[in-house]
């Protein structure tokens, strides 16, 4: 069987170092909250809607409490207190705040037990719904059989959710297992989640709760016809990480891009804000049974795939530890890597085989997410199609979890319907042709591939040691990751982080922690 010779102690050492990096954030996770975390709580309490000028109710409420300087106590208390005092539902409270009829901070404080009782009922109702969505998914997999491995993952990105559904349904019929709706350009920098169905986007379609619902329905329909459960993916990243995770949990998304550090490095979002938000959003994903994916492929779009291979490994290890901290099981950790090697290099395929096997060896049960060639995709669509075939070959040979299919038009436009069909045909052909080949092959223990994989892991260990010595924030400020300098107090969304008061309450966090058995 195709296997690397890597000493288990070396892998354990790497994991231990990553653990040390991650375990120094209790102060942040237990002492702070952010505006998007509070807006998430509003959503989880069952509040939805937007004002006529498009401001979502969660933003209206959180902004209002902030301007009254009482947000430190947490939005849950204020909404529940008003519900108690005025005998209203959460949605009715929101409706009144939105039209300026109600000031939450001046509602007479009700007896603590009464407020707590309302909070507990709201929490139980929503968590029950999220659990039922998880059960629904598991039942579907039990009926139709488990997802294939590697799963075929394709994107839709027309900008129009209705057009997206049509293309997604076609892709599912052709063999796709997972559909990702790519978000519109720069949604990650919006400090709110747009509302309602959308038909205009650039390079993608806005992530809104209504769009989630529309696509979910479309995929359930086609899935029942073809007797396969079709997974749906979106992006819990940017300034609204936990809100999007919550929307996904409510509408039964199955996979969420949810990286611990991507926003900091590639979107210049404040480091504290990002780590805090990923902590809560990943907990929601863990609770909802949503598989997360991480964005290590991005390191290689700006750096060289050979020289910086170790940064991928190091980031995977850190992402794994942060995910575990939030209660995500390894079977739901789609750690990322990518076939971004320069095709002009001699033996590029051997390098890729080494890197892909290394990921597989370090994270044997994770549904690893393998990204296709993008950077070296060119206007020569014929060559790009061939590179995608080589990528599919590595994916099947090394048993990756999720294969993000490469498009031959990657360098030109977001996929046309035929590009996607050809990509699926390509993957199906290669996967079938080399299905069991990996079981027949062995590697020379002293050969190039083994040496290469060991070298990358050694470099990753040295790098992690450096980060342990300085601390993660300091290392980011210094530019150790991806050569990008990100100081702890700079970046977008920094002002949206606040210290919790002593009587702060996030009932969802507490309840999920308890049920997931997290006691930090």
């Amino acid at each position: 069987m195709l296997q690397l010779s890597i000493k288990q102690e070396k892998i354990e050492k790497a994991k231990k170092l990553a653990g040390q990096i991650v375990n120094s954030f209790d102060w942040l996770f237990n002492g702070y909250s952010s505006e998007t975390i509070e807006r998430t709580i509003v959503r989880l309490m069952g509040i939805d809607g937007a004002t006529s000028d498009g401001t979502p109710f969660p933003n209206v409420i959180v902004e209002d409490l902030k301007s009254k300087k009482v947000l430190e106590r947490g939005v849950a208390y204020w909404v529940a207190n008003a519900m108690c005092a005025l005998n209203l539902t959460a949605q009715e409270v929101a409706d009144k705040v939105a039209i300026g009829e109600l000031d939450l901070s001046s509602v007479k404080p009700q007896a603590d037990e009464k407020v707590l009782e309302v909070i507990n009922t709201q929490t139980a109702t929503m968590l029950k719904h999220i659990k039922s969505q998880n059960n629904f998914r598991e039942e579907k997999f039990a009926t139709y059989g488990p997802r294939r491995k590697p799963a075929l993952y394709v994107i839709v990105a027309t900008g129009n959710i209705y057009e997206d559904v049509l293309q997604a349904q076609a892709a599912a019929r052709e063999g796709a297992d997972i559909i990702a709706v790519i978000r519109s350009t720069a949604q990650s920098l919006l400090d709110y989640v747009p509302y309602g169905a959308t038909t205009e986007g650039f390079g993608g379609t806005f992530a809104t709760q209504e769009n989630f619902r529309i696509m979910r329905k479309g995929l359930d329909e086609v899935g029942d016809e073809i007797k396969r459960y079709i997974g749906l993916t979106n992006y819990a990243s940017g300034l609204c990480m936990p809100e999007i995770a919550a929307m996904g949990a409510i509408e039964r998304l199955d996979v969420m891009l949810n990286d611990a550090m991507y926003g900091i490095l590639f979107r210049d979002i404040n480091p504290r804000r990002t780590l805090l938000d990923q902590y809560f959003s990943r907990m929601i994903n863990a609770y909802a049974g949503i598989e997360i994916q991480t964005g290590e492929d991005n390191y290689l779009t700006t750096s060289d795939a050979i020289e910086k291979a170790y940064t991928v490994t190091a980031s995977q290890l850190i992402n794994e530890q942060f995910a575990e901290y939030s209660g995500i099981k390894e079977e739901k950790m789609g750690l990322g890597h990518a076939y971004e090697i320069n095709p002009e290099i001699e033996n590029s395929f051997s390098y890729e085989l080494a890197h892909a096997l290394l990921t597989k060896t370090i994270f044997p049960t994770a549904p690893v997410k393998y990204m296709p060639p993008t950077k070296f995709a060119s206007g020569n669509v014929f060559k790009t199609h061939l590179m995608d075939a080589m990528f599919n070959f590595v994916g099947q040979l090394t048993g990756q979890g999720v294969q993000l299919l490469g498009m031959m038009t990657e360098a030109i436009h977001t996929p046309h319907i035929a590009d996607r069909a050809l990509a699926i045909e390509n993957a199906n052909y290669i996967f079938t042709a080399v299905k069991d080949l990996g079981q027949e092959l062995t590697l020379d223990p002293d050969g190039f591939i083994n040496k290469r994989a060991n070298l990358v892991l050694d470099e990753a260990i040295d790098f992690l040691q450096k980060v342990v010595d300085t601390g993660l924030f300091e290392a980011m400020a210094r530019g150790d990751f991806a050569d990008i300098k990100r100081p702890e107090d700079k970046g977008k969304g920094a002002q949206g982080v606040f210290k919790r008061s002593d009587n702060y309450l996030n009932p969802f966090l507490e309840q999920m922690k308890q049920e997931l058995g997290l006691n930090r």
């Binding site: 019929r173 052709e174 720069a186 590639f266 779009t301 360098a411 436009h413 035929a418 069909a421």
Partner: protein
Amino acid sequence: MPVKTDPKRIRPYGDTLNDGRVQISFTLPVPCDEQGKEAARQILRKMGMSEIDVCHMNDLTEGFTHFNAYATSNAEVDLTSIKVKIVETPVMDMYENDEYIDQNIGRDLIVVGACIESDAHTVGIDAIMNMKGYNHRYGLERYKHIEAINMGAQVSCEDLLQKARAVNADAILVSQIVTQKNIHIANLTKLIEMAEAEGLRDKMLFICGGPRLNHEIAIELGYDAGFGTGSYSTDVASFISVTIAEKAENN
């Protein structure tokens, strides 16, 4: 030995001169059957094709079919009448360019670059500007006589112009990679209109670049030059130095 042709009568080539053979693939919202195939054939005929061979069709489901075809095109062009706008300044390497600036301009040039508005792709502008450069050509930051300021991605037009004014830039470099729904055209137009309104347009060179841009489009949009796929720091730097030296001479 290159093929002998009549440059006034250029037609597509399959395996015999002027055979007009082309390869086409496209999708139609039609069923994957003989009627659908005939629809594909008729579309090709209306495109001026004959001897049409729809050699493959594939059911994309949901009512779509993808077709591959070979056909003979009756189109013919006169190569001698085709004029394209290209950047015509000679290309110098970094050392030659620094020398050129030293000799012909006598001061350091200031260049401000950014990938503007919602576009977050930095690799292209970095390839032109960053110290380490791209494909064995150093970026502008390494030039002795160019002070290069790379503002990165998602820079608003306002911020870019403000910076250019503040440092009294000789040239502005704008990158646009995302082109869906012609967003790059909208952004580039916005920048140039703002520059005009602020009286900056004629104070510096405006240069744009990206995979869907070229010199021709750039000129049309009111820029001084445009660079597409496969362009290098050396192309841009040479254009800037030569144009500025010539301007100085003319004044």
